[in-house]
Amino acid sequence: MRNIKINLGELTFLIADSNSYSSAIAHSILRGFGANKVVEVRDARVAIQVLTEQRIDLMLCDPALPPVGGIEFIRTMRRNPNNPYRTLPVLILTGDTRISTVKQARDSGANMIVAKPISPAAVYERLAWVAFNPRKFVEADTYFGPDRRLPIEGPPEGRSDNDPAACESAGPTLSQSEIDSLLNFARNDPA
């Protein structure tokens, strides 16, 4: 996956994160990958305004996004059938990697979940995954979003143990590879 090259120069990204430094880190990583159109917002109200006023190709969202939280924001965005950006690809960047939070993020309709602290490799692999392995959207009574089952080859690799930016969480929280595997297990979940 790391050998695949994606051209981010023509894409417009929206980073929705109330933490200005965390947002700046994501912005820097995208800029390093060649993205030159990146919009940063600190709350969901401004995010909606940006999404309404300009074309956004991909959103990176924090679960703690005010005022209602990023997960609820994405769920609402996905569920409204009249929403023009309903199928916008979304990556959730979360430092809260408790299994309950990761499942909520997955079930909100996010395309991918990336554990904070983020590293360039983790972001790039998941951007490439979203770009080259788009999943069909599923509409059910309780869910609208990308098919929560990943193809048989599975999700991209998790963070490398040698990655200096990777600081694995302990205890009840999940590593990036465990987060990815939840998408595999989702095939057993009712939609």
Partner: protein
Amino acid sequence: MKNASVELDKLKAGFSSWLAIQIAHLRRSAERARAAPGDAAGIDALYRDSSEIRDVAAPMGLPLTGFVADYLCRVLDLTREQAIAYPDEIVQCHVDAIVLTTQAGYCGSLPSDQQELIDQLDRSYEHYCTLAGRNRATARDVQASAG
């Protein structure tokens, strides 16, 4: 990938001043939570301050600081889930440990470089998990299973 790392390095110049402000917020939030341990909004603010440090410290070259902030978040998770009363003493210990990890001798260390500190945090967390009736793995368990 190299360009992304270069861009990240540029951010490091302003990180110490951001972190100093953030730690001041964290201390104030901890003082407020001590004064009003039943106030959920106050504990949420403390959690937010800690999580902001947790999310950015490692990419900015302070992985141990991020690790300790993550521990504080997990202690506060138990409080927010109303599993235990607000643990003022352990919160203060974590806040002090966060400050310590930003200072010379600790700055830039990996968690595995400071095993004594990690062991102390593990013991505190285990203690509070026991009080909360939770059975949760600690960093030591994770390291052991990985090994």
